[in-house]
Symmetry: C2
Subunit: 336 residues, 2 copies
DNA sequence: GTAAAAACTGGAATCGTTTACGGTTTTCTT
DNA sequence: AAGAAAACCGTAAACGATTCCAGTTTTTAC
């Protein structure tokens, strides 16, 4: 079923059929009615590949997701999906491996698919210099801040991860904890990871309390298992601690389990605080104390910015969404 | 950068450049070298939209995911993604809303994008009759069984959900539980939901133990919160029970939290068993007892079947992957 | 050394769509 | 009722690729 078939079927020309289908002028009421009816009957759908070639209305927006396993991205995609569906654009999602060179892949995807705009979920902001700047497509980085990069075509929406992280640590300090260990996510390739680490450092520095990474800090990738293992490793140092800050809720879940396995109760013996605000946290035993970043709001704003930039050719924007400290039940005051 | 630019740059014709780029014969070694070099230098990538029109090598495989929030699908996508990347095909992922009429949407996507093959993640097998049979594209249904539908172009890979569910209930019965309540997922639009319910009914029937759905059964959508609420509703009946079967791990997590909120300990006071085998389960307190379906294996087999059907024009196949009862720590024998 | 075969190349058709451009017909205006 | 304006419609060019076809050059074979 091509537009040509439809033209033959209705007796009109291809041009007229195309105009009728796209709501363009220069087609009589009668012709439009006949054509739309025939289209509906035969279940005609335009071939997007052909449509995109004359890309006036190509209308493709690409979501590039780095790390399919992250529940936060799933939440964001649901929002993005529904917002784009209400717009004249259409969404396509591509996953790239967490290990992969995401910039290279993104550049390739853009050249291949020629989208109008891009949403990066979880892309690190490093390496963008090489490769992405000569692609003129407007993009929005979600969860990471691209402010300092200063690309004219790269916007961003993020939580102030450093401050959120600092807030978490300060909460532990306020509760009187001094023997604190930290389980961090990868810093190598992630702005979020780096910023959360920095925030943690600031918190200690701000209170004039020493922080010894080699003693108190372990880094691992984002998974329950690695959080669990990192916590065990910290326990095995045989230097007791009274609180854990896990720089991701999944890490916190693993850490809680590790503590339990060593006979320590949360929060009676050890307090635990996470960061992210996974929906899961509120249904754990104990309910996880955490710092929630508003991912759905981030997704909403990201789409708004992208559409705005596309339609009004505005400059790149950078927004920060507020975070919330969720009390949970995994925190207790340090025993004197 | 189009193929035309490349032709001009190298001095060869468009046809020759195309042949060189695609490894076709009828190109001199010298020409090929020059062209490939120029292509690499200029970072040329063919425009997929144009490529697909003469769709000899369109090579598009579509993954249609129903419900972005499901962690299982994320796990499957990672596997699918990497397998397809090693094949000559390319993958595109589309999400459709859990509420949406997925068959209608799928048919539309196919007509628009003209993929060579389709992977359905979490699509219910109902409603396929209307609409999908006149699309000739080979498809594989993952997590649901399409055997009984008997479409020549629809394969499937699934767990025997009925049996898995039956196994879970029998485990509870074997432990001596008689006052059992069940929290189910939606049956309306999901084969999995229906089968798990049936399996549960069979388990009771097989042991000659009565099952009163209106008393013992609550249905809810798949989320922590709804599992929590369903459990509270069951507790509020004021008819005590000693075990819960939640027909999804997310529901089980919610249920455990609800029990705790009412002062009941798992498994001391109430045993809980889930089904799915989320990685999370093993890091909960207590570790969740569940029936694991091997989603990664399912994804692997699904891709294998699809590629095989595509390349050898074989008939539709239906496979069942085994499940495993994971002991966990949320089960205890009923007190006499 | 010549004929046949093989290798190479460019031009043109094709895919399914949109859109610019002319030519008709209809509708308005006075 | 005539001229202008508006509405309508078909033809053809364009988009960026692939592929067929025919023509030219080179290689091979005897």
């Amino acid at each position: 079923m091509t537009i040509k078939d439809l033209a033959e079927k209705t007796g009109y020309s291809v041009g007229t059929v195309s105009r009728a289908l796209n709501g363009m002028p220069d087609v009589s009421k009668k012709a439009r009615a006949v054509i739309l009816r025939a289209a509906a009957e035969s279940g005609y759908e335009p071939n997007l590949n052909a449509k995109q070639l004359k890309q006036q209305h190509s209308a493709l927006i690409l979501a590039i997701v780095r790390g399919a396993r992250n529940e936060l991205f799933g939440m964001m995609l649901v929002v993005i999906q529904s917002l784009i569906a209400q717009s004249p654009y259409r969404l396509e999602t591509d996953y790239i491996d967490e290990e992969e060179d995401e910039v290279h892949r993104a550049v390739q995807l853009c050249r291949e698919k020629k989208p109008l705009g891009i949403l990066f979920l979880g892309g690190s902001s490093r390496n963008f210099q090489e490769g992405f700047e000569n692609i003129r497509i407007p993009a929005v980085l979600l969860t990471n801040d691209a402010r300092e990069l200063g690309f004219s075509n790269l916007s961003s929406v993020s939580t102030d991860d450093a401050l959120a992280s600092q807030t978490a640590v300060e909460r532990l300090l306020d509760l009187g904890h001094r023997d604190i260990v930290i389980i961090g996510g990868p810093r190598e390739n992630s702005d979020t990871g780096r910023q959360r680490y920095e925030g943690c450092v600031s918190a200690f520095a701000g209170r004039g309390i020493p922080f010894h990474p080699e003693q108190q800090y372990r880094e691992s990738r984002y998974s329950y298992r690695e959080g669990y293992q990192a916590a065990l490793a910290l326990l095995d140092r045989n230097q007791p601690f009274t609180a854990v800050f896990a720089m991701a809720d999944v890490l916190a879940v693993g850490a809680v389990r590790a503590l339990r396995d060593r006979g320590l109760k949360v929060p009676r013996d050890v307090s635990v605080i996470g960061i992210d605000g996974l929906p899961l946290g509120d249904f754990l035993c104990p309910r996880l104390s955490t710092v929630r970043q508003e991912v759905e709001e981030m997704a909403r704003r990201g789409v708004t910015i992208l559409l705005d930039v596309l339609e009004n050719h505005g400059p790149a924007r950078h927004e920060t969404v507020p975070f919330t400290l969720l009390p949970g039940e995994s925190l207790a005051a340090a025993k004197p």
